[in-house]
């Protein structure tokens, strides 16, 4: 299968500090990849680079074979990269339905938004998504009134509404209950059937639930890559990240 994402020799430095250092990464289409790493390993910077929020100092990022260099965020997003932020970011003064509609909209230009009505296809997509994320009953109250977990789900729903080819999900279960975490894991696994997904996560239990292939980042470069089991038993990983062997077991 073709590689959907290809990153070569990527370096990002902020005033001399190298947040990412000569990083090479590639990912196949349809893969669900989990990236773990201790704080400050460069996980969020990694997402910032792919989505165009930060420009690389060196190296290239290729998405579906196209170099993303100096493309603005919205172009990359339209090209098929969707991103969920660490803290849930939804439009608090809009309802979940409106939130989803904005993401679902296919003509994201000024005049398209002014003169085009949302098509019945889009309405159906939104309706289906509301069911998937379990917010049908709260579809028409302000998103600011939702609980933390519901906001997380709404944001994942917004990502899917964008119908991206690659989903970047930054800590989707931070602050969720165990049950919500399980459900989120199931949701991501079912999404992985039709999307390529990168998940960044701290919660090892959760990683174990969803992971097929894990990449460990450390000090801006890739430390090792493999199945959860391989990674868990890698002595370097145990040293820098998992720390205690009993936690990793």
């Amino acid at each position: 299968m073709a590689n959907i994402l290809e990153i070569e020799n990527l370096t990002v430095s902020f005033d001399g500090f190298k947040a990412l250092n000569g990083l090479n990464f590639s990912m196949e289409e349809g893969e669900l990849r989990v990236i773990i790493g201790p704080n400050g390993a460069g996980k969020t910077t990694f997402l910032d680079i792919i989505t165009g929020k930060v420009q690389p100092t060196e190296g290239t990022v290729r998405f579906k074979g196209k170099n993303l260099k100096s493309l603005p965020e919205h172009r990359i997003a339209r090209f098929g990269v969707g991103r969920k932020f660490q803290t849930p970011r939804v439009y608090l003064n809009l309802t979940p339905r409106e939130n989803l509609e904005l993401s679902c909209n296919r003509t994201k230009t000024v005049f398209g938004s002014l003169f085009r009505k949302s098509s019945s296809g889009e309405k159906l997509t939104v309706k289906g998504l509301l069911e998937t994320i379990g917010l049908v009953g709260k579809a028409d109250i302000k998103a600011g009134l939702l609980s933390h977990g519901e906001k997380q789900w709404l944001e994942i729903g917004m990502l899917v509404a964008q119908s991206p080819d690659l989903l970047l999900v930054d800590e989707p279960v931070a602050g969720l209950t165990d049950e919500e975490t399980m459900l989120t894991g199931d949701l991501l696994i079912s999404l992985a059937q039709s999307h390529s997904i990168i998940v960044i996560e701290h919660d090892m239990e959760f990683v174990r639930q969803i992971a097929r292939k894990v990449t460990v980042l450390h000090q801006g470069s890739i430390l090792c890559e493999g199945s959860m089991e391989e990674v868990q038993n890698d002595p370097r990983v145990i040293e820098v990240y998992l720390g205690h062997t009993d936690e990793a077991a």
């Binding site: 989505t51 339209r78 932020f85 003064n93 409106e98 509609e101 904005l102 938004s113």
Partner: protein, 389 residues
């Protein structure tokens, strides 16, 4: 089985009814203003009301850019003045062939400056008083928004631009009569002297009609998907970028529309005041525009209009009774609104003023079952579905 298609239909008939009521109220108010007010009010009071209504138009523009899009502009005086000067120049040019406006001769100017020429045409003036402010706002907006300047930096930049225009207009005696400004009261428009009661009545009626049109324009912009996008820009612009939207275009368009509204307001205000001077571009006046919107309730169009009329009338009353007291009152008003009514008067009523007043008076809320049942949307939905089947 439930029948989902039922729901939108019922909703749309409800919203149609609400729209019909709104249209009825607008038409009713407009008719009262246009026909009843001239009969009730003296010429002087009518002229005052006309001026306040034109200020309400600029308040709508401020609400659009600040209340909905979250960009606090402290420079709307520029656009207001540009519109006002455009119409004043046209009126000043209503002279016999070959004559120049009077002030030019004082400074020894023999030839009309080039940029005055097109303003002798009425259609061009109409076009200009809308599009010159819109283009200036659009350009300024493009430069600012493209570089992702926002928040307080945007406010400071607009205020700096305002000061720049203010000083420029003040210094140009030979071009636009500098500090003295342009008088319009003695000029003629369509054969009527601009200060005559007939002309003023016409200006008043035009103001009401333009205010209604401006309201409808803003109503259209802020409802539907475009309006939701503006709110999304206000709430979280970065999120919007990652959803595939480029906020720059939206912000430029809204700022330009807002500038155009200010220009139209400025022209109507000028002819009903009788003069326009660079004083209109003083910092305080542009801040006052923001206060009107804050008092009425930002993010609500009715609030912008209501706030303007309230503050403007309060100002007139207080200045008549206690001259010199107004500025203190204005400061206090702003403080009260910011601390006690952050959503303004309309926002307060929308978010349960009645509930608050009831609880202040010690009257309990009317809830028929447990509040958790009454207010849980999930349960409400179930109840609706049971009712439907």
């Amino acid at each position: 089985m439930l029948e989902p298609p039922d729901e939108p239909k019922r909703k749309s008939s409800q919203s149609k009814k609400a729209l019909a009521i709104e249209a009825g109220i607008i038409i009713g108010l407009a008719v009262i203003l246009i026909f009843a007010m001239p009969a009730i009010l003296s010429d002087f009071r009518l002229r005052l009301l006309g001026r306040f209504l034109s200020l309400a138009i600029v308040a709508l523009g401020i609400d659009l850019i600040w209340g909905y899009t979250g960009l606090l502009s402290l420079g709307h005086g520029i656009f207001f003045a540009l519109g006002g000067y455009a119409l004043a120049m046209h009126l000043n040019l209503q002279l016999p062939e070959g004559q120049l406006p009077e002030f030019f001769t004082l400074y020894g100017v023999k030839k009309l400056p080039w940029f005055w020429e097109p303003f002798s045409s009425f259609p061009f003036t109409l076009f200009g008083l809308v599009f010159i402010p819109a283009i200036v706002a659009g350009l300024l907006g493009y430069l600012v928004f493209r570089n992702r300047i926002k928040g307080v930096y945007f406010s400071i930049l607009t205020q700096a631009a305002l000061l720049g225009f203010f000083n420029f207009f003040n210094g140009q005696q030979k071009l636009i009569n500098g500090t003295n400004g342009l008088k319009t009261d003695t000029d003629e428009i369509f054969g009527l002297v601009a200060s005559s009661p007939q002309a003023q009545l016409a200006f008043f009626q035009i103001t009401v009609i333009v205010l209604v049109l401006a309201y409808l324009l803003c109503r259209w912009l802020t409802s539907g998907r475009f309006g939701r996008l503006l709110i999304a820009i206000r709430d979280d612009e970065t999120r919007l970028r990652f959803s595939g939207y480029d906020p720059t275009g939206f912000k430029v368009l809204v700022f330009a529309v807002s500038g155009a509204l200010a220009g139209i307001a400025g022209s109507l205000y000028t002819v009903q005041t009788g003069i326009i001077t660079p004083k209109i571009m003083e910092v305080a006046f542009s801040i006052e525009m923001v206060i009107w919107v804050a008092v009425g309730g930002r993010g609500t169009l009715v609030g912008a209009i209501l706030g303007t009329l309230l503050v403007a009338y309060a100002r007139t009353l207080l200045s008549e009774k206690f001259p010199g007291f107004w500025l203190f009152f204005q400061g206090a008003l702003f403080l009260i609104v910011v601390t006690a009514l952050p959503d303004g008067i309309v926002g307060w009523f929308r978010d349960g003023a009645i509930v608050q007043i009831r609880s202040l008076l010690g009257i309990p809320q009317p809830v028929s079952t447990y509040p958790s049942l009454e207010q849980d949307p999930e349960i409400e939905r179930e109840r609706e579905e049971i009712g439907r089947s």
